[in-house]
């Protein structure tokens, strides 16, 4: 396999980002930037999928590439999830931004560069490329949250995320410095080997590890580092929220898994530092708090924000199990993130389609009776929330099944029980969406939400809906690919 094919997705992101910048600056009339962008991202994802299916790493990669970035099936698998999420978000943006009079080319440029950062992050095998990837990804997202710049809410969310994110990045960087001080290496494999051989300065390594885990837990919005999430998700334009909740989260989990399993995967550091125990604690807090807080929300966007926090908790259950049983649990995490990506994109896409200009659906009440008035617009929402809830035969069901199954196999039965109970609590607020849409009638003087008509949004909904059903009907194929990726990650 050619080296160029392996790095083509990254190059494509970069070149199309620069290209769209120029088009945006010079184009006189409205260009179909959303179409170009989403196709570019989808092609990048398709190339990665092809490389993933074909398997086998190219032998002739130059050292300048292999030193900082991996090109293993693990990275390509995450490319697929990141690109799927980003491409769907861009399609949603194509409809949403135009409908709400926010159409500006910057959005697509930001998504492309942020997606580039996310893909770097999924490939990072060195603390340096980790940090550069993380910041490249985050800077685009900060700007995307404040995209509706006249809205005080959007600016508030962006400022919160920016300040807290900078703080978390500083903690991560300090942790990286301590890891380097303790081991003399910045690459994950080198750090892992030094720890395994017992030559590392243990105290420095442990404190460094703690800070790195805090920095990453912030990015995946694990409780208690989640404070920014509801405000940022609510303030951002919905397509930006979609991108943050799927692609950014997937990339952050990619590097989380890599750091934990490759750099800190040694038995000695696990038992001494207890990162599996620490992450199990975070997972329990995240699952319970995310689900309980989602129940009391009135705004659907905020509910979905808390729901995405809860989902980060389920993924962390898989990470804890990976510490014990390795590859099977990692493959469950991979599958879960892919399933979550398409399900969440579907749910947010349904929220986008529910509102036309000035008549956006924000609260549960706005959805009253929509199911009877506009059944075709309500159907994707039903599939989306059922999949997020984990209802068979959707993607979400198998995601949850594999993750909790991995936890049971690893001997963390209590963790699986907490997870199942938490997701049972979650069923309440997911089903409430369906109940409101189909079994309630709007009040007399209520402003009715009118679904928007947009080919972009319809395409996004059809694509994500099909992906949700495909992952739910035949999960085996994707799971096999995920298992292979997980095996090669552990070497």
């Amino acid at each position: 396999m050619s080296m160029w094919l392996v790095i083509a997705p990254l190059l494509l992101m970069l070149v199309s980002g620069l290209f769209i910048m120029l088009v945006d600056a010079f184009a006189k009339e409205r260009a179909e930037l959303a179409l170009v962008t989403s196709v570019a991202i989808a092609v990048a994802g398709a190339i990665s999928l092809g490389v993933l299916v074909q398997g086998g790493a190219p032998a002739d990669m130059p050292e300048v590439l292999t030193r900082y970035l991996a090109s293993d099936p693990f990275a390509h698998f995450f490319d697929v999830a990141i690109c799927a999420g980003a491409s769907l978000s861009v399609l949603l943006a194509g409809g949403y931004l135009r409908e709400h009079g926010l159409e500006r080319g910057e959005f697509y440029v930001l998504v492309l560069f942020s997606c580039f950062g996310a893909m770097i992050l999924a490939r990072a095998i060195d603390l340096l490329s980790l940090f550069v990837g993380l910041e490249t990804m985050s800077l685009g997202v900060y700007a995307m949250i404040a995209f509706r710049r006249t809205s005080a809410r959007a600016v508030e969310g962006a400022m919160k995320y920016f300040l807290l994110g900078s703080f978390a990045a500083a903690i991560l960087l300090f942790g990286s410095a301590l890891l380097y001080a303790g081991t003399g290496h910045t690459d994950f494999v080198g750090i892992g080997e030094m720890i395994a051989s017992g030559d590392a300065e243990n105290r420095l390594v442990l404190v460094g590890m703690l800070m790195v885990v805090v920095g990453l837990a912030f990015k995946v919005s694990a409780v208690p580092f989640h404070m920014w999430t509801p405000d940022a998700y609510e303030g951002a334009v919905t397509p930006a929220t979609t991108f943050m909740s799927v692609s950014v989260k997937a990339a952050a989990f990619a590097v989380f898994v890599r750091v934990c399993m490759v750099a800190l995967g040694d038995e000695s550091v696990m038992t001494a530092s207890g990162w599996p125990t620490a992450i199990a604690g975070l997972a329990v807090l995240t699952m319970v708090y995310g689900n309980v807080a989602a129940i009391v929300q009135k705004s659907i966007k905020r509910m979905l924000a808390y729901s995405s926090i809860a989902h980060a908790g389920y993924v962390m259950v898989g990470l804890v199990a990976a510490a014990e049983i390795g590859a099977p649990a990692i493959s469950a995490v991979l599958f879960y993130l892919l399933a979550y990506t398409v399900s969440n994109a579907l749910a947010f896409g349904s929220l986008v389609v529910m509102g036309s200009r000035g008549k956006e659906a924000v609260h549960y009440d706005d959805l009253r009776g929509v199911g009877r008035r506009h059944p075709m617009a309500a159907l994707p929402f039903v599939i989306g929330v059922l999949s997020l809830m984990g209802f068979p035969p959707t993607a979400g069901f198998f995601g949850k099944y594999y993750v909790f199954n991995a936890a049971v196999q690893a001997g963390d039965v209590w963790l699986a029980i907490v997870g199942v109970l938490a997701s049972a609590v979650g069923a309440y607020y997911y089903l409430r969406v369906i109940v409101v849409m189909f079994m309630q009638e709007p009040e007399e003087d209520q402003v009715l939400a009118v679904p928007m008509k947009s080919g972009y949004v319809a395409t996004a909904l059809a694509a994500s809906g099909a992906a949700v059903m495909a992952l739910g009907m035949m999960p085996g194929w994707f799971l096999d690919v995920a298992i292979e990726a997980a095996r090669q990650l552990l070497g």
Binding site: L14, L18, M21, L22, D24, A25, F26, V64, N202, R203, L206, V207, L210, A272, S273, G274, T277
Partner: protein, 119 residues
Amino acid sequence: MFPVYLPVLILLIVASAVALGMFTATSLAGPKKPTPEKMLPYESGSNTTGASHLRMSVKFYLTAILFVVFDIEAVFLYPWASLFRELGWFGFVEMLLFLTILGVTLVYAWKKGALEWEK
């Protein structure tokens, strides 16, 4: 449970205790003789004029950001220039790529009117 973290905890406690102790001690034990002049906000010795929460025009930030970008470029170019022969074609192409990306962003900023002070 994990005694290795005990030193960190102790350091945390000592650091907070020292910081808190210093602030408490100065506010309790320090002499306080406030005069009207002392209570004024300090502004390099001259009298304060206008409100302190002044809104700066966003134009300053744009200029500052552009300055930083090209400053970084200069920082990157110097070591590259001194190692030019050793880096060979690889270094040349690498720098060319970097400058191209920077060039595109400059064109973008220019077209979008970021370089015009009065619009």
